[in-house]
């Protein structure tokens, strides 16, 4: 197990490194000139040269990337004209557009995205597993039909459409819930949940469909397995067969799916964040994109990639730990 853990972590680190190199190369060797963008309107050739050298853009791309990596581990000093800004250790660059280190911006945005993702994941697991189990265990065909329809509709609905309908109905018309504004959990838990409820529902309605389908398929499969038949043959009460023998096998794959989905929701809730005006990482990226703020774009994408790679590694490790059948290759 230890060997597997080490291999998996090293693998994740390699993927992350490759990812950061690709992202950095793509954006800094790309068609838009970062120095020209940072220099702003009315840029003179002299000033452009100054900006170029202060950003290190006059050096070869490989050197630039190495100093980007260097800054992540050891920090970096950026001169913003008159003053020098120090960007502390996990430094992902400095946003000349908003005059702050990218890490500061991410530090403000990540809790929002994490709050959004955790709540949405919990809600969708609850809804999805519940719906999936009820349809299989009740053995009613019409329930199965209803669930299938709901799943299909859920799969076909883009999140911004759901968000829009929710906002119109519950926030604008019925006025049951406020138009979301982010309140930190530590400040006021009740307001935190109240404000995030609509975004959670919007995301969960769609993710729950996938969980329901998975739960249904897995439970059906496990029900027909030998060990379940054996348990029944021993005369165990049906309740016990389900809770002890079926659910364990059926829900294991969901653990993996949930870990990856957490990262997925965190990094792909761009639309939800934009719709509900939540200042998460997706929102940060969209505003950076509109002003072509390259350090922020690169910082956000690398961080998101990191969250994703980490979640994948955690999912694999969890899966190996839970399911004794997994061979550690």
């Amino acid at each position: 197990m230890t060997g597997y853990l080490i291999r998996r972590i090293v693998g994740a680190a390699v993927v992350l490194l490759a990812l950061s190199a690709i992202v950095y190369g793509l954006f800094y060797a790309g068609p838009s000139d970062p120095a020209l963008l940072a220099c702003g309107k009315g840029c003179t050739p002299d000033r452009l040269a100054v900006v170029k050298s202060s950003m290190g853009l006059d050096k070869p791309l490989v050197d630039q990337y190495l100093s980007f990596l260097h800054a992540i581990f050891l920090g970096h000093d950026y001169s913003t004209g008159p003053s020098v800004q120090h960007c502390a250790a996990p430094c992902l660059g400095y946003s000349f557009e908003t005059d702050q280190p990218v890490t500061t911006m991410l530090g403000a945005a990540l809790p929002v995205s994490a709050s959004l993702a955790l709540g949405a994941l919990a809600l969708s697991l609850l809804l999805g597993i519940g719906a999936g189990l009820v349809t299989v265990l009740s053995r009613r065909r019409w329930l199965d039909r209803v669930l299938n329809t709901v799943i299909l509709v859920g799969y076909a609905t883009p999140v911004f459409l759901v968000a829009l309908v929710l906002l119109i109905v519950f926030s604008a018309d019925l006025q049951w819930l406020p138009f979301p504004t982010y309140v930190p959990l530590t400040q006021d838990p009740a307001a935190w949940a109240q404000n995030l409820l609509l975004p959670w529902i919007a995301l969960a309605l769609i993710a729950a469909a996938a969980y329901a389908r998975m739960t249904r398929a897995q439970t059906l499969e496990t029900l027909s397995e030998d060990h379940v038949r054996t348990a029944r043959a021993y005369g165990l009460p049906e309740r016990r067969v389900i809770t002890r023998h079926v659910l364990r096998g059926a829900l294991t794959p969901l653990v993996t799916m949930a870990a990856i989905d957490l990262a997925n929701i965190m990094t792909s809730a761009v639309l939800t964040e934009t719709m509900f005006g939540l200042p998460g990482i997706g929102h940060t990226l969209v505003s950076a994109v509109s002003s072509t703020d390259l350090p922020v774009i690169v910082g956000v994408t690398v961080t998101a990639g990191g969250v994703y790679v980490l979640a994948n590694a955690v999912a694999d490790i969890l899966y190996a730990a839970i399911d004794p059948r997994v061979e550690l290759a």
């Binding site: 911004f160 604008a172 990639g305």
Partner: protein, 324 residues
């Protein structure tokens, strides 16, 4: 050893001479017949057919209506109320079949049918590219040696490890304006989403390569490319088709989402996502501006999902619901 060769020879007798394309055609014919019997899938196909026709004949349809996507009609909106369309249901009339856009008064029907071109074109184009990249990488990984497989598999992992929405948003920001936006949208969506197909194709190729008919083809001296094309590729049709049918709605959502965020298709080119995004601020005074593009998008997505589900059910060998 003799038995292996004999077995391979026997398999060769029944395998390669029968052209795989014939069996592929048979499968496709059966699939088509079954899908038509499946009510949900048939409904999906009908809606898709209508949408494709609408997209193809967009110029004809708008000519019939006598409108275009860009003409401003300030006389049709109430400037006193900030630009709400005059008349009921967002200004529906004989000359503006679905009403007009708030503020500008541009014709909604024309924008909707031209938007269908972007939605369908980008989604289908991206899917085709994903399948092309995914299947090529997958087969190469499955049939190539250990080294090739290791490199390509890691590459696939990397493609799957990209937070796709974020990357698409970021990538669209740096694309030069000279490249046509719909084209670049399809390419970006495809480049970020081929991983699943590759993983599927690799798995399938790995299991097919151990089969007798593949061994037979190799022993009879077929070059690797020919083996890949004639022996492996036909075996990939079914699983890849099932998977790709689900990719279409996913890609369509991606396009709509990117255009919604303002990094997709640029105005004045109409796109459903972009119309929806503009509509969000108008749902109070002019709900039609949200309902028209939202409804079209939802209907098309539902149709593709129904079809995809039908394809999956029909092609699933374990499936007993639909009689052949």
């Amino acid at each position: 050893m003799t038995t292996t060769i004999e077995a391979a020879g026997a398999a060769a007798g029944s395998g390669p001479p029968a052209p795989p394309s014939a069996s592929a055609t048979r499968t496709r014919g059966a699939l088509w017949r079954r899908l038509r019997k499946d009510k949900a899938a048939a409904t999906g196909m009908a809606i898709i057919t209508v949408m494709v026709l609408v997209a193809v004949f967009a110029p004809v349809l708008t000519a019939l209506e006598g409108q275009n996507t860009t003409s401003l009609h300030p006389e049709l909106v109430d400037s006193a109320s900030g630009g709400t369309p005059l008349g009921s249901l967002g200004g529906v009339s004989g000359s503006h079949w679905l009403g007009v856009e708030p503020q500008t008064g541009r014709d909604l029907f024309a924008r909707l049918v031209y938007g269908a071109r972007i939605s369908l074109g980008v989604a289908l184009g991206a899917t085709a590219l994903q399948v092309l990249i995914g299947v090529s990488v997958g087969i190469a990984a499955g049939l190539g040696g250990r080294g090739v497989d290791a490199v390509l598999s890691r590459l696939t992992d990397l493609a799957l490890a990209f937070p796709q929405v974020l990357f698409a948003v970021a990538l669209m920001a740096i694309v030069p304006d000279s490249v046509p936006r719909p084209l670049i949208l399809a390419v970006v969506i495809a480049l970020l989403g081929w991983g699943g197909t590759a993983r599927l194709a690799r798995g399938q190729a790995l299991s097919l390569r151990t089969r007798d008919f593949v061994a037979a083809a190799k022993l009879s001296g077929a070059p690797p490319l020919r083996v890949a094309r004639r022996e492996i590729l036909p075996g990939l049709v079914t699983p890849v088709l099932t998977y790709a049918s689900l990719l279409v709605p996913t890609n369509m959502v991606a396009e709509a989402g990117l255009s919604f965020l303002g990094v997709g298709v640029r105005p004045p080119t109409p796109s459903w996502g972009q119309m929806l995004s503009a509509g969000t601020t108008w749902f109070r005074p002019d709900v039609m501006y949200v309902v028209v593009p939202g409804g079209a998008l939802f209907l098309t997505l539902l149709a593709f999902t129904l079809l995809a589900d039908g394809v999956r059910r029909t092609l699933d060998p374990r499936n007993t619901e639909v009689a052949p």
